[in-house]
Each structure stands twice: as C-alpha cells, then as structure tokens.
C-alpha cells in the first residue's frame, strides 16, 4: 500500500504540512464560533404540548378525537401498518397511472408491529383503570362492553350529533342531552381526565412503572389536529417546506432541501400525493445511490473535469507547472 502511494507521488515535490496544528486551529476557530453563536443566539425550546393543554384549549376537539378512537372512525384507527390493518395511510412504491397501479407496499409487507387498538388504548382502558373512583362509570362501561356493535354505533353516532351542537366556554364543554347511553358519561370522564392531566400518564404504556415510549399519547395528539395547528403557526407543515424548518428564526435542516423540495412539486403533490412519502423516499434513495456510486458511473464521473472548478482548487500548482518552475509528473 505504502509503496504504491510513494509511486503515486513520485516526482511531485512535497512541502512541510502540520496536521496536528491544523486540527488545533480548526478546533479553536470552530469552538469560538459555536460558543459565540450559543451565547448570543441561544437555541430554540418551544414547550411541548400535553394532553392537558390540548384538552383545555379545545375541549370539543379533544372529545371529538376520543370519540373517533372509540368508534374507529379516527385517523389512527384507519391508519394501517404498523398500528393496525387499516388502509387510509398505506403507501405504495409506484404511482397511480390512470387505472394502473399501485404496485407494491413495503408497509403492508412488514405489517403490524406496534399494535394500537384505539378504542381500548384511548378510551376503554383508561376509563377502566379509574372506574372505581367515578360514580356510575363501572356500570356504564359494563353496559357499553355488553352491548352489540350496532347498539354501540347508535350511541356514538348520537353523541357525534350532540357534540356538533355543543357549546364551549373556556375549558367547559356543554353537550346537549341525547340518547347516547353510557357514552355520555364515558366521554365527559375522558375530558375531565384530560383536563386534569391524568390522560398524559394513562396513555403511556400501562401496567408498567417505567415509561419512555410516547407512541400512544403522540398518536392521539396527531389525531387531534392540535399538533398540526400549533405547527402551522411556526411554518412547520409539509406544504410549508416544514421538513427544513425550525421553530422561531433559527436555521433548520438545510441539508434536507432535496427531500422536502420533492413534496412541493409535481407529480409528488399531484397524482402521486397518496404515496408521496414512499415516492419521495424512493426518489431520494435513487439519487443518493447515483451520487454514492458516481466514481463508477461512466460520463458522470467525468463531470468534475468538465465543470472545471478544479482549476481553481489547484491554480497554484498549475501556474507553477506552466511556468516551468516545477516539472509536471506523470
């Protein structure tokens, strides 16, 4: 190896070069710059949303989301893998071209690995845990669980209508009375749990003391739309090139420019919109592989020579070779 390297350099003059000093200078300069930026500009830290804050700021939306989890009409209930076998968010690698397509779904192939039963995880489970503390709740839950699916739907549909006519005053939600059976008490309890901060704890993995997995509460917030509307105020939505952005006036992730650009252009924002994520990832993967293997791609691997920027990188050396001061070495 080293003999080959020496042969490679044969005939080319060398000059002293201090790598250690170079590293120390680079460290000093970068550290100084980082420290100055950190002292003067600090870093962003927008406080997290909680189920408590969400349920207090929009009690109607919160209950609507809980109802959707209970009767299976919500976003996560219909999402698809890895949470369940729904179809609403299943994406395919391969666009729809007229009546042809879609082709193939890695998402479906890999399947359900993070099972989420929205009715149980978001409503029935938490309510059962605290049932003993709320008068009438145990009975209500027995009634609900013992009823037929048709009966349960009738109750939740009736509650949906009533919820649409509800009035909000501050954190208080007044839902007109309805023929909703046990669902009325279940939903009002869910709202109280939310507003008192209990849902934040109940939605983490239950039956365990230590919790580090926020999948369930975050999926609920995603369904609620609370996260999205808060994000919109910071220009973080996908349609706002959000992938690249940061809260406040801080720089974001400029290096993701190509990925986020795809979402803004045709066909990713048109005929491929239903599979936009899968298609964007596929596109970026292909382009990245091309760049990665460019040394072996004929034509493309000569691009730097045609572009000619190298003449600036080695301008000193070329000048001296042309002047004859040093020999050109093959």
């Amino acid at each position: 190896m080293i003999a080959r390297k020496k042969a490679y350099y044969a005939g080319i003059p060398t000059a002293p070069y201090d790598l250690v000093k170079e590293l120390l200078v680079a460290l000093a300069v970068v550290t100084a710059a980082v420290v100055i930026f950190a002292l003067v500009l600090s870093s962003p830290d927008e406080p997290s949303l909680t189920l408590q804050s969400v349920s207090q700021s929009d009690p109607q939306g919160f209950v609507q989301t809980a109802l959707g989890e209970l009767n299976g009409s919500g976003g996560i209930a219909n999402y698809g893998p890895p949470y369940n076998n729904g179809t609403a968010n299943v994406q395919y690698l391969g666009p729809q071209i007229g009546p042809i397509g879609p082709f193939f779904s890695i998402q479906k192939l890999i399947g359900v690995h993070i099972p989420v039963d929205t009715a149980q995880d978001y409503v029935l489970g938490p309510l059962m845990q605290i049932a003993a503390t709320v008068p009438g709740l145990s009975a209500a839950l027995s009634t609900y669980n013992g009823a037929s699916a048709t009966q349960q739907s009738a109750w939740t549909d009736a509650y949906t209508k009533a919820l649409g006519k509800a009035t909000v005053s501050g954190v208080n939600l007044s839902v007109p009375s309805c023929a909703c059976g046990p669902v009325t008490l279940m939903m009002s309890t869910i709202l109280h749990l939310g507003q008192r901060g209990a849902m934040d704890g109940l939605l983490l993995t239950s039956n365990r003391f230590y919790r580090t997995d926020y999948t369930r509460p975050l999926l609920f917030m995603a369904d609620d739309g609370a996260v999205a509307s808060h994000a919109a105020s910071f220009n973080l939505l996908g349609t706002q090139w959000g992938v690249m952005n940061e809260t406040g006036n801080y720089p974001g992730q400029a290096w993701l420019w190509l990925y986020t650009t795809l979402y803004q252009i045709w066909p990713y924002n048109g005929p491929w919109a239903a599979n936009a994520d899968a298609m964007a990832i596929l596109t970026v993967t292909i382009l990245t592989l091309i760049l990665m293997f460019i040394p072996w791609i004929p034509g493309l691997n000569r691009l730097p020579r045609y572009l000619g920027v190298y003449r600036l990188i080695w301008k000193d050396y070329y000048r001296r070779v042309r002047s004859g001061a040093i020999p050109w070495s093959e």
Partner: protein
C-alpha cells in the same frame, strides 16, 4: 503461528506510523478548501463533548438550567457547523474528482457518513423533549411507516430514539470517520487533473486512471 506478530507486521506494512501522521504533503495540497474536512472533524468533536455533557445531566436538564441551555445551544450550533463544513467538504471532493485513482471507497465512506449523520441528527431532534420533537416525530413517522421502517424504528418512542442518538449512532459515525481518515492516509490526497487534458487523452487513452 503468532497472530499478534502477523497482525503487527501487516499493520506496519500497510499503514506505518509515519503515514498516519505525515509531516509533509504534495505541493498541490495548497488551497483553503482542504480545510473543510478537518473543520468537519472539529465540529464533530464539539458535538461529542457537548453531547456528553448533556447526557451526564440527563435529557431534561437543559430545559430548566441556564448552563444546560447554553450547552444545548453549543450542541445545536455545532450541528449547524458540522453539516455546513461537511457539505463544503463534499463539494470540494466532488469538484476535485477525489474518487479517482482507486479512491472510490474513500468517496463511498464519506457519503455513508453523511447519510448516517442525517439519521443521527434526526434522532437528536427527536430527543429534545419539546414541541419540535413532538412535531418532527408525528410528521416523520408517516415517512418511516410508508417504507415499513416505522415498524422497527418508532420515532415516537423516546427511549429508543435517545438510545440511538447518544450511543448507537455516534459510535457508528465515529467508526466511519475513522475509516474515512484512514483511507485518505493510506492512499494520499488525489493528484490534480492533468493539464492539457485533450492532448494527453489522445496520447494515452485511459491511462489517467491508475488501476488499483
């Protein structure tokens, strides 16, 4: 047979000590663009140092401590510096055709480092425990789920993302950077494109590439 002796001989033949830290370079290594690589390394060192301090005090420390917030800010701006210089280093390597003469693996290792760094940054944003982390998780999960990765790599699972960010990925990035630096030392800095390319191409078609 003495395995230690064989390894020792192999290493001293392949990459002797003087080649790891040469005190001279060919004279064509003479442009400020050659500093972007080491500036990236310097940024990486800062990331590790500030990251270790943040880990020592726990993921919630910086939200309530002024010193903690400063360390977090240093970590935040080190990320900006890291990608800033890494991309400039990529442009330099690209415009100089640095993959020539058997340096393809050096180029590939650099590209892989770039990609793993992006993943490291992603897990870092998810570890912030603030609204940005919530948002990035809730959004990012759709892209990950669309290609099936979300079944095993759950952006909403703080414990998993934090573990990737402070342990698994930094080790991988450090290993890749080490490999990349070793390859540069093994092969040396690529020579400039030949002058009078057209004349030489005619005279010696294809000989420009030194076969490995």
């Amino acid at each position: 047979m003495n395995l230690t002796e064989r390894l020792q001989r192999r290493v001293s033949e392949t990459l002797p000590y003087e080649e790891l830290m040469p005190a001279e370079q060919p004279i064509y290594v003479h442009s400020y663009v050659y500093l972007f690589g080491i500036a990236t390394v310097a940024s990486f060192i800062l990331l590790i140092v500030s990251g270790i301090i943040l880990s020592v005090f726990g993921p919630q420390w910086w939200h309530s401590s002024t010193v903690g917030h400063f360390v977090n800010s240093a970590h935040f701006w080190s990320v900006q510096a890291f990608f800033f210089f890494m991309v400039l280093h990529l442009w330099t390597a690209f415009f100089s055709g640095a993959w020539r003469d058997g340096r393809g693996l050096t180029w590939v290792s650099g590209m892989v480092t770039f990609l793993v760094s992006i993943l490291t940054a992603f897990t870092g944003y998810l570890s912030q425990q603030n609204f940005d982390a919530q948002w990035i998780g809730v959004q990012g999960k759709d892209a990950l789920n669309a290609v099936g990765v979300g079944a095993f790599f759950d952006a909403l699972n703080f414990g998993q993302m934090y573990g990737f960010h402070i342990a698994v990925l930094p080790v991988i990035v450090a290993g890749l950077v080490g490999l990349h630096l070793m390859l540069v030392r093994l092969r040396g800095v690529v020579r400039p494109y030949p002058l009078d390319v057209e004349a030489r191409e005619g005279a010696r078609a294809g000989a420009e590439e030194v076969p490995v």
